[in-house]
Symmetry: C2
Subunit: 216 residues, 2 copies
């Protein structure tokens, strides 16, 4: 009988978190080599316990992704005094956070897992990743963008479009290439350029949406 995993606010005991950590490690190491037996062995627990706690394999997977994805936390941006410089720094910070997360090995693994999962009419993992990745950034960025518009620092019709353009400028083809296993993109290779790319993306964003731009 599968145990229903609460979608949010789920509190795991330390022991359970250790199990989830083991599961995540296996996921990162072996790709999809996440077998119940392997998790049990890695976590030094019995399969029966796994089933008791997480219901079935999908439950364990969901719990792992959910738990890990929720760990991604964005730094709070000071929104009180919104001059041009502060706005730019905020947006730059978002770009940096977004890129850093996306490039990380854990993120790649989680996204791959979720994509694989979505290829089987099971979209729950996809939603979780989506919710805690792009959408989380969006929720935090949109108010900033709108505040920027209200302060006449930015110009755009739809904050949704502005956000999505921002996403595109920052992420470009990096994520899909990582997911597809492009060897030309090594971790170090990206991380070395991350600051340059972040600056460039921010510049471009302001070129498109800055108050003085002939907005498209």
């Amino acid at each position: 009988m599968p145990v229903t995993i609460k979608v949010s606010e789920e509190t795991f005991t330390p022991r359970q978190q250790a199990v989830l950590t083991a599961a995540l490690d296996l996921l990162v190491e072996n790709g999809d080599g996440l077998t119940m037996t392997a998790v049990a062995r890695r976590a030094s627990c019995s399969k029966e316990t796994l089933y008791k706690w997480f219901g079935d394999r999908d439950g364990l997977l969901t719990a792992t992704v959910q738990w890990q994805a929720a760990k991604v936390r964005m730094p709070v941006v000071d929104r009180s005094h919104l001059n041009a410089k502060a706005l730019r720094l905020s947006i730059e910070q978002f770009a940096r956070d977004l890129l850093t997360v996306i490039v990380g090995e854990v993120s790649v693994t989680l996204n791959r897992t979720a994509v694989t999962h979505a290829a089987q009419e099971k979209d729950s993992l996809g939603l979780i990743v989506l919710e805690n990745g792009p959408l989380a950034i969006r929720r935090r960025l949109k108010p900033i963008l709108e505040a920027g518009r209200d302060a006449r620092l930015l110009r755009f019709e739809s904050s949704e479009d502005a956000y999505r353009t921002f996403f595109g400028l920052v992420v470009r083809d990096v994520q899909i290439r990582l997911l597809l296993g492009d060897k030309a993109l090594t971790q170090s290779n990206i991380e070395a350029n991350i600051e340059v790319d972040v600056k460039a993306a921010t510049d471009q964003f302001f070129t498109l949406y800055g108050a003085k731009a002939s907005n498209a």
Copy 2:
């Protein structure tokens, strides 16, 4: 004994193509439900023939992806008289092609399959998809961009960066959301907006890289 699949120029007999079509259909329908038995039944052939022709399951998968991916053909762009209007139309056309391909059900399936594959230290499918998707566009677009620069219609340092920005402006978060199974993005929903998005992306690209832009 696995048969080596030639990476290019592979010519399949009509019968083999029918098998590959069946495999692709199954892939699109059932996600990863691509079992050898299912393909054999769907294509009305014997499993033994499948193994004879494609070596093993991976060979069949590779042949399917390879064969289908190679079908994506970009229209040739007239590069002879390169005035501003022609350049814009070319780039707009690239944007339209890129977006149309990426949004298609087949592309989503192929990308998902390749990502799943890449999650198992097997990156061959990823490379094929990469090669026939983004990189194919890049190969065709770069000369246009450089011609545009030579004609003083565009300004950029690196055509590579220009291409990647173009990719980001066009694709934005559409592809990853589709791969993750975001229900909010229905096929019709996207296709209805495709022209608007293409225009917007092209405008933005010219804002960033047009000759008159204060290039970032």
